[in-house]
Amino acid sequence: MESFEEELRSALRRCEPSPDFAERVLARVSAAPVRRAQHPWVPWLAAIAAALLLTVGSLEYRHYRGERAKDQVLLAMRIAGSKLNKAQKKVQMVAHRSNS
């Protein structure tokens, strides 16, 4: 199983796009037309839309961060609890032996 997964990792290794990929992206960004407001309220609408997008985008990412942090808390408690539980059971065993 391990060998198969390693083969899969190797087969799906990241690969580079064309050597001039980054330059082409930057060229497209520079060439993107600047939109001029046709109506006085368009900049306000754009600002509201941007603020909404910002809020939604931020909320989405906060949720992602929160879920990841939650997973870490659960993992930590699982590990700590497991070690503590082993110690507890050992103590109980020793106490049980000395009482019997």
């Binding site: 198969f4 997964e5 390693e6 083969e7 899969l8 990792r9 190797s10 087969a11 799906l12 290794r13 990241r14 690969c15 580079e16 796009p17 064309s18 990929f21 980054a22 082409r24 992206v25 930057l26 497209r28 960004v29 993107a32 941007a50 997008l53 910002l54 985008g57 931020s58 990412y61 992602y64 961060r65 879920e67 990841r68 997973d71």
Partner: protein
């Protein structure tokens, strides 16, 4: 005339972000679509979108999450669209150069083609798991699907890949599946 407040400046250097993440974005698209030209076009579009949303990015980790999510979803959309159109033969698809490859090249090629033949969602899950090394919970968040779905689809996909690969290997070595 009221003075406009200056636009919020992003702390990220866009050109650096492109160079840093271009392999990841392109590879996700490539492994999902198996068409180099389309994958590069899609990757470029993703970075253009990133440029438009740069002010929303809170951290390098946010950028990474955003890129994986947008690339995967757009590639999946494109893959579904292409299902309805005749595709270029996978046999003729030129292979981009991988960073370093330690596996068997023939096996690797066979595996890539088998992955490309998986249903789109399963394909995305396998790519995010083995190209990006994400765990099922992270894959679930990137794709916006339940983690249970990720785990079951991953399990089924791996079983299918293993079974198909053993047939391919058997055929290549001249053995029929029964003779293995």
């Amino acid at each position: 005339m009221p003075r406009r407040a200056p636009a919020a400046a992003s702390v990220f250097d866009f050109a650096s972000l492109v160079r840093q993440h271009q392999a990841m974005v392109f590879s996700i698209a490539w492994h999902l679509l198996r068409d180099r030209a389309v994958a590069e076009e899609l990757a470029q579009d993703v970075f253009l979108s990133l440029h438009q949303h740069l002010a929303q990015m809170e951290s390098p980790e946010h950028v990474l999450f955003w890129l994986r999510r947008v690339t995967s979803n757009r590639a999946l959309d494109e893959a579904r669209r292409r299902q309805r159109r005749p595709m270029v033969s996978l046999e003729n698809a030129p292979e981009p150069v991988a960073a370093t490859s330690t596996g068997d090249p023939l096996l690797g090629t066979a595996l890539k083609k088998l992955v490309a033949a998986l249903p789109e969602k399963a394909r995305a899950i396998v790519v995010l798991r083995y190209q990006e090394d994400l765990d099922p919970a992270e894959i679930a968040r990137v794709l916006g699907i339940p983690v249970g779905t990720v785990k079951s689809q991953l399990q089924r996909a791996l079983a299918l890949l293993r079974e198909k690969l053993s047939r391919v290997v058997g055929q290549a070595s001249g053995l029929s599946p029964r003779e293995e």
